[in-house]
């Protein structure tokens, strides 16, 4: 059987420097009109000239997808994931190469594309469904299912501009979830909505892929979602395919590549006038600040002081995506000497087994004087890290927002009646 998607050497270049493809003004175009023949003539003589200022967002990408396969696409920001999806969705045109899609395609690069704030929920279901490629009859048939999935029955005739963002997203995803294409292209849309709804979306996606034999191309930064949904993945790096194969392998390649990026380590210069936090760093179980649940983690904090401090106290919180502190660690001078004379001190906090549940977290660090209650320095939103459940299996999978913390527990079962 022929693959449902065949991609051969697909590439997309954006011209930078000359900026021909950015907001052109008429004057530029007139100037271009004069210059173009000269340039074309030059290019004919020296062909390299043309590609000098081209930025290849995607290049030489070839792969095939079989019918019913669910493929994950992972990579850092700017690796070309979105460009690839845009090419396959026919939103923009490739510069070179060729892709053949053998089936009805629906793409979902954003939830609620075409939603109009002034229109009611009911009206937007029809509008959005139509934009996504459903016929009126199809929308009418699925209308009740869509409404039930979105849980907004009572607000159906309210303009969506009065919706909370959660309701808006639920309605938008509900429409999209009822598309019936043969090929579904999805970008990071699961990153929205509350935890419970995300879980239902993931469930729906799984159902779509497995039950109905649909081909899905799925982009996400959420390794957990990728590993739950897909068997095979592609890793994009600088516009090229860096790895392809079973999802587990590709994810570990992705996690291992590259060193820590600057913003994963907080650094500040010591001050001659005031005590400061000079460095905050995490040693996670995986590279790039990715931490496996249940594995050890270390936090390294450096503070400097130009004067002795009597009762110094250094503490930090791990905060969830909402900025709420979920765990707290502290070091207090009476327990061990620190900052009793001027200088720089390094504190290492070793956490034997990090039990935080999967999700994205950042650190908030305080440097205080316990006696006077004075705060010398505070940094927050630093050392972003992700806790993953990857490699830790359980039947039914893991879903975002189930809890914030996983504790060990021993179960005993006895028949008592």
């Amino acid at each position: 059987m022929r693959p449902i998607i065949s991609i051969e050497r697909l590439g997309k270049a954006y011209l930078i420097g000359r900026e021909v493809d950015r907001h052109r003004t008429f004057r530029d175009a007139l100037a271009e009109l004069v210059k173009a023949p000269v340039r074309r003539w030059r290019e004919r003589i020296a062909p390299t000239h043309a590609t000098e200022d081209a930025f290849w967002a995607l290049r030489d990408v070839s792969f095939e997808v079989g019918r019913g396969e669910v493929i994950g696409l992972i990579g850092r920001n700017g690796a070309g994931k979105s460009t690839l999806l845009k090419l396959l969705s026919r939103i923009t045109e490739p510069t070179e190469g060729r892709a053949v899609l053998r089936g009805r395609v629906a793409s979902l690069l954003e939830v609620g594309t075409g939603f109009h704030p002034e229109l009611t929920g009911r009206e937007n279901i029809y509008l959005n469904g139509s934009i996504l490629g459903m016929s009126r009859g199809e929308i009418r048939r699925k209308f009740d299912q869509i409404v039930a999935f979105s849980e907004i029955e009572q607000f159906l005739d309210t303009p969506v501009k009065r919706y909370s963002s959660g309701m808006y997203v639920r309605l938008a995803f509900a429409v999209a979830a009822h598309l019936e294409p043969e090929i579904l292209i999805v970008d990071e849309v699961l990153a929205v909505g509350d935890a419970q709804f995300q879980k239902r979306c993931l469930g729906k996606m799984k159902e779509v892929a497995a039950g109905e034999g649909r081909t899905v191309l799925f982009v996400s930064h959420n390794m957990q979602a990728v590993s739950t949904l897909t068997q095979r993945s592609l890793l994009l790096k600088k516009g090229r395919i860096a790895a392809a194969g079973p999802t587990a392998d590709v994810i570990s390649t992705y996690l291992q590549e590259g060193g820590s990026t600057p913003d994963m380590v907080y650094c500040a210069a010591a001050s001659p006038n005031a005590p400061k936090i000079t460095r905050v760093e995490l040693r996670t179980s995986e590279p790039n600040n990715v931490q496996l649940n249940g594995k050890p983690m270390q936090a390294i904090i450096e503070v400097s002081t130009p004067v002795p401090i009597d009762t110094a106290r250094v503490s930090f919180h791990a905060c969830n995506a909402m900025g709420d502190p979920v765990i707290h660690f502290w070091a207090h001078d009476p327990e061990f000497p620190m900052c009793r004379e001027a200088g720089t001190y390094r504190l290492v906090c070793a956490i034997p087994s990090l039990r935080l549940y999967m999700g994205h977290y950042t650190l908030r660090v305080h440097f205080k004087e316990f006696a006077g209650g004075r705060e010398f320095d505070m940094v927050e939103g630093v050392c972003p890290f992700e806790v993953v459940m990857y490699g830790r299996d359980r039947e039914g999978g893991w879903f975002r927002g189930t809890c914030v913390y996983l504790e060990d527990g021993a179960w005993e079962v006895a028949k008592v009646g």
Partner: protein
């Protein structure tokens, strides 16, 4: 569109048999994919419906603005050009008092064209978020604006019938040809909407130029005053404006018995108008199709 050469193109809407979509770079001029436009027509209806629904939300007078806007223009033009400049004298004793109808008959096609030029011209820029997030035939964006304006025209037409009864002006027997004239007006408006929307999204200068062009074009189409105020030497210039021929033809049909000196009617103008409309529509379509593949990148 995007150079995807599509063999049975999978339209974004409708249950077409699973076709094969080939995505590859395109070169040069691209034809119009009529099959795809036809299959996706439901989306066009939805876009028109959305524009109409949204336009008068939170306006107390709501859809009444459809009539009120041209009505205000009519009153203004009748006062300024009919009374103050005294052009109503040029309509002769029989039509002198019906200056308002004389203006409104021309407002019918002009409103459609003006909306196509202004809102249609801005339409792609206004719909950037759609262009960069989903694929559908891009021609629908300006076309839906013109479609919405067509409804306004229908409502205004009812108002014109009322005015005709008020002034006791019977229509010309040729009024049966109105659908053909309407088709010509529509073609001219679509041509302008396609051309100027594609120009505006590529060169944002047109956002500032178009309102000015619209003003000049309105005067050059003699919407507010009789063509007899300029001498016959301008005939050649007027013939180049497709809207001039269209406006005179509308007046000819609505102001039934009025002499050609008043309506400005001359078959020559209609013939040149048809020819230039054809050129405008083709140019608009092909320029649009040619630049379409860049829309998502420059939006």
């Amino acid at each position: 569109m995007f150079s995807t050469v599509t063999r049975p193109a999978p339209a974004p809407a409708a249950h077409d048999p699973a076709g094969e979509t080939v995505i590859q770079p395109s070169r040069g001029w691209i034809g119009v994919n009529w099959g795809e436009l036809l299959r996706g027509r439901e989306l066009l209806y939805f876009l028109i419906w959305r524009d109409i629904k949204v336009r008068y939300k939170q306006a107390i007078l709501g859809a009444a603005w459809v009539v009120l806007q041209p009505l205000f223009n009519m009153v203004l033009f009748t006062l300024v050009f009919g009374r103050v400049a005294n052009f109503s004298e040029r309509l002769g004793p029989q039509y002198r008092d019906a200056y308002a109808l004389f203006v409104f008959a021309a407002m019918l096609p002009w409103q459609l064209f003006s909306t196509a030029l202004n809102s249609g011209g801005q339409s792609l820029v206004a719909q950037q978020n759609l262009l960069t997030k989903i694929y559908f035939p891009r021609l629908y964006v300006p076309a839906s604006v013109v479609g919405g304006a067509l409804l306004d025209l229908a409502i205004s037409l009812v108002f014109v019938i009322f005015l005709m009864a008020w002034y006791h002006v019977p229509p010309s027997p040729w009024i049966v040809l109105l659908p053909l004239l309407l088709a010509l007006t529509l073609a001219c408006s679509l041509g302008a909407a396609f051309l100027f929307s594609a120009l505006t999204i590529t060169y944002r200068d047109w956002r500032f130029l178009i309102p000015f062009i619209g003003q000049v074009w309105m005067y050059a189409s003699f919407v507010a005053f009789p063509p007899s105020i300029v001498g016959p030497k301008w005939r050649i210039v007027l013939a180049l404006n497709p809207m001039y021929g269209i406006v005179t033809a509308w007046r000819k049909l609505i102001l039934g018995g009025a002499p050609d000196a008043i309506t400005g009617w001359d078959p020559l103008f209609l013939v040149t108008s048809i020819a230039i409309t054809a050129v405008l529509l083709l140019l608009g379509l092909f320029y649009f199709r040619r630049s379409e593949r860049r829309f998502a990148d420059i939006a």
